[in-house]
Subunit: 339 residues, 2 copies
DNA sequence: GTGAAAGCGCTAACAG
DNA sequence: CTGTTAGCGCTTTCAC
């Protein structure tokens, strides 16, 4: 009536229990599990059989403590007011989760805003993660700077001019260049750009691509119909007004959020797409998915970015040498909005 | 040149270092930090001063191991194909993160699908969390059943008939009843319901509320214009066709995803909202935000649900007695689509 | 091949 | 009020 069949009670079975049960030492059990060190095939088999049978699961926390690792990676999501619902980040997160689970890591999430990284600091201070995935890149990148200072491994979903930062991104400059070129070739003369926060590297890259298209095709670009930092409804509305007043025949939106706002504006003013103005966008999320007419957009697979980021980061943690830049493909989905 | 100013090197400072430095025992340091046990104000001050000065951060993992806790909570997100981009879950997650950070917990994320909970099992097996937040409720709820079996604390964002499950939800039945009643009062006679997966408790509750409105107002309900389990584009399209053919003058959509599809369909058929048919929906997310005309919808603050869920769960973990059901308010935003 | 012992950084009796 | 002693569950030298 004392410790017979302890299994039934709360406490989880430990490596020590197995050792006792099998008349071996904890060391041996540990070796049988990890595969490290020399061990006879026979004992290994016996241990594994026992483990199987009793459904033993090693305590990752204890293992981590012994190795000074956590087997967790952090994913940092932006919590700025207008970004919390952007599906891109959610998909990135799920991608990292998928990669992590496959490598026996878990994902802990926290948030930062453009100018407040206290929650990131907390995560690092508490030593809860072995590395971090940053899901967006800023020009003045507080999180990246901080992580660099601490020396903890991290990767960036996005691009940075800092060559020491491991980056996972698609080529936004090339994408926007291609998109702009398509509009130019399809007969548009006056193509407007409506872009978001220029403190986000991605928006700068797209602007860069837009300009490149004009240079490449030796066409004149009109700065009067380029609108940057248009990250709220009012600014977008003003931009759309200006764009229409100046007789643009094409609009490139730097993201799906902006695009959906633009489309609403155009609708309200009875400006037909694509007849009166063609529209193209970046990142074809659910925000755009149902629009009529369908919107031409650069397709970025955010989940793939997350998966790649997760794998690279865990590789880094495990001491692998990781290339500084991983490019993930994008695709252009040509739809009626530019036809 | 040996261990002078060890601070600079990699290793983090530990409780032992402080003890040695201050000529005290580890226990005393521990007590000074936790506030547990008796300790003189003076030593406490000294320790805290040292901690402050040297920016010591306790190792949460080690603390956890000693106490058999992780100071992590799990958040389980649905990974079913058509749900990954639903902003509701993202907002819930951020809510839990916020609550957790405030209580010195972290959030680890994983996913399940309707019929696959291996990743949840993995998380529990690995003993990485002290409790779990489920972000949606199924009729045949694998995750809830599994967690109940393991005995680990968990809360459900959503509703369940299982009275032992701690639930955080808004009253969807009342909400849908109210919404339906508003349409009925505004002169609609034939109000259609277009609802999603009936294995989700929330969709059943809304259906229930819809019926209740008719009963309450002693009006006849027409089952021919009630469409359930409409969780993809094709099924929604068919439903919209049928709804129009049967001369409905109002449509209630059980979520924003369905609603955005419905609106697209109506637009394509040149059916004017609200002139020819009124439309109302649940959960006013970015998917609906920009629509013209604006859509009447039940506003559910997903982040608040997350915050409440996080707090309740951590309360539970800490041994508090938690009420079985927490209702979070909803609001009805009356917009042009039903005027 | 296997085991003993120390230790990861902290907490928790139990003494004094 | 403070210190001593064991752990938490696992890994990792170092012997044998």
């Amino acid at each position: 009536m004392k410790d017979i069949n302890k299994q039934t009670t709360s406490r989880n079975i430990t490596i020590g229990d197995i050792a006792k049960e099998l008349g071996l030492s904890k060391t041996t059990i540990s070796r049988a599990i990890s595969g490290k060190g020399r061990i006879s095939a026979e004992t290994k088999r016996k241990v594994q059989e026992y483990i199987q049978l009793h459904n033993y699961k090693p305590n990752v926390i204890a293992k981590g403590l012994a190795q000074s690792r956590t087997y967790n990676v952090g994913v940092i999501l932006p919590a700025d007011a207008n970004l919390v619902e952007v599906p891109f980040f959610q998909s990135c997160l799920l991608g990292v989760c998928e990669a992590a689970a496959g490598l026996d890591y878990d994902v802990v999430v926290t948030t930062v805003t453009e100018d407040d990284i206290t929650l990131l600091k907390r995560l690092i201070d508490n030593q809860k993660v072995d590395g971090v995935v940053l899901t967006r890149s800023l020009v003045n990148d507080l999180p990246a700077a901080y992580l660099k200072e601490t020396g903890i491994p991290f990767v960036l979903i996005g691009s940075s001019e800092d060559e020491e930062v491991i980056q996972i991104d698609s080529n936004h400059t090339a994408g926007c260049c291609e998109l702009t070129a398509i509009l130019l070739k399809s007969g548009c003369n006056r193509i407007a750009l409506l872009a978001g926060n220029q403190n986000f590297v991605v928006n700068r890259s797209r602007y860069e691509g837009y300009r490149k298209a004009f240079r490449d095709m030796e066409q004149d670009m009109d700065n009067e119909i380029v609108f940057l930092d248009r990250n709220n409804n009012v600014l977008i509305q003003q931009a759309v007004n200006a764009i229409l007043a100046k007789g643009a025949d094409g609009i490139i939106c730097s993201d799906d959020f902006i695009c959906s706002k633009v489309l609403t504006q155009l609708e309200e003013r009875n400006v037909a797409v694509p007849d009166m103005v063609k529209v193209a966008s970046f990142y074809n999320s659910s925000l755009l998915e149902n629009h009529n007419p369908p919107i031409t957009a650069i397709q970025i697979n955010a989940k793939d970015l997350g998966i790649t980021a997760g794998k690279k980061l865990i590789g880094m943690i495990s001491g692998e040498k990781i290339e500084q830049k991983s490019l993930v493909d994008y695709e252009i989905a040509l739809k009626k909005s530019t036809s």
